[in-house]
């Protein structure tokens, strides 16, 4: 049976979700997206620059039949702002998924838990497929599921920090109790972080900066894809428990004397 990621009514083969910000140029970005094999791409909603409305835009290069768009509510500091951005995104007619992101503080970009919960509740009621970027807080993850989100996306560490998973313990709690997919979002720095998240049992990883700002974004996109796959397979295969002492791999019987 195919191992797929199911989010609301949608099903995906890839468990790597890719952001589309900060790439050095559109050609590099196109190649990175292609080799990542990501099927879900995030975008932000912003004012069109009316002084240069026809500047090249990555979205216009995409074959929209091949990708599912996941617009975010980045920039929102309140539930109301997030809901407004989400409605604008949906009115494009291109998508009904939304990454809810309500930030509480510009320095850490950590989510505001109260605004995040409120925006998620409203958008679920309005019929969006809601993927919520959240703190690595197991209780908040539970509350989000109670209001009906379709995926919870705990941050590994602050957005763009590349610090990897800072609270493995909490992430485990979230994963253990989750009834919807858990996608580790934000703070991924290296392929090892992806593999770790997937080995812990996460259903997917969402990252952007770690690929976009790598010395070689295309190669890093491939590395992340492989790491997510390796971590997933490792999780499904069931790792051995850690032991304090050695345990010989070669037989102790039949030694030559």
């Amino acid at each position: 049976m195919m191992d797929t990621l199911k989010i609301g009514p949608y099903e995906f083969r890839s468990r790597l979700l890719l952001g589309t910000g900060k790439f050095p140029d559109l050609d590099t970005q196109s190649q990175a997206v292609a080799v990542s094999e990501a099927e879900i791409l995030t975008f932000a909603v912003r004012r069109l620059n009316l002084e240069n409305p026809h500047e090249p835009n990555f979205l216009e290069r995409l074959d929209l039949k091949k990708f599912t768009l996941l617009p975010n509510t980045a920039g929102a500091y309140t539930a109301e702002e997030a809901v407004r951005i989400a409605r604008l995104a949906k009115a494009s007619g291109l998508c009904d998924m939304i990454k809810v992101e309500v930030i509480g503080d510009p320095k850490t970009l950590l989510p505001d838990p109260i605004g995040t919960l409120e925006a998620s509740r409203i958008l679920v009621e309005e019929g969006f497929i809601v993927l919520t970027y959240t703190n690595d807080d197991p209780i908040l993850a539970k509350r989000l599921q109670e209001v009906g989100v379709h995926a919870v996306m705990p941050g590994a560490s602050p957005i763009g920090s590349g610090q990897g998973i800072l609270n493995e313990h909490n992430l485990r709690f979230i994963i253990e109790d989750a009834k919807v997919p858990v996608i580790v979002d934000a703070g991924i720095g290296s392929p090892a972080d992806c593999a770790k998240a997937m080995e812990l049992g996460a259903d997917g990883v969402l990252l952007n900066t770690a690929v976009a700002l790598a010395d070689n974004p295309v190669l890093m996109a491939e590395a992340m894809k492989l790491a997510v796959e390796a971590g997933r397979k490792g999780f499904l295969a069931g790792r051995i428990p850690k032991k304090r002492y050695a345990s010989a791999s070669s037989p102790t019987e039949g030694m030559i004397e």
């Binding site: 932000a44 009316l50 979205l59 604008l88």
Partner: protein, 67 residues
């Protein structure tokens, strides 16, 4: 007429009096954009029938790279 367009005061010609005419004036008819007028999203099907009037606050947004 004077409108607030994407946060800036913009003087529009008098014939730019519908959302459709506004989009055409910037040659945006083929672009993936969403329009909000005075806080309300304008449905695509209503671009022609939605007026643009003096003092309107209009936002024209699109998707950009983001994480």
């Amino acid at each position: 007429m004077l409108v607030q367009l994407n946060g800036k005061r913009v003087e529009l010609d008098d014939e730019v009096n519908t959302v459709r005419a506004l989009l055409l004036s910037y040659q945006l008819q083929e672009k993936i954009v969403v329009v909000e007028r005075n806080g309300e999203i304008v449905d695509r099907a209503r671009y022609e029938s939605t007026p643009v009037a003096d003092g309107d606050r209009i936002e024209i947004v699109h998707f950009v790279g983001g994480g």
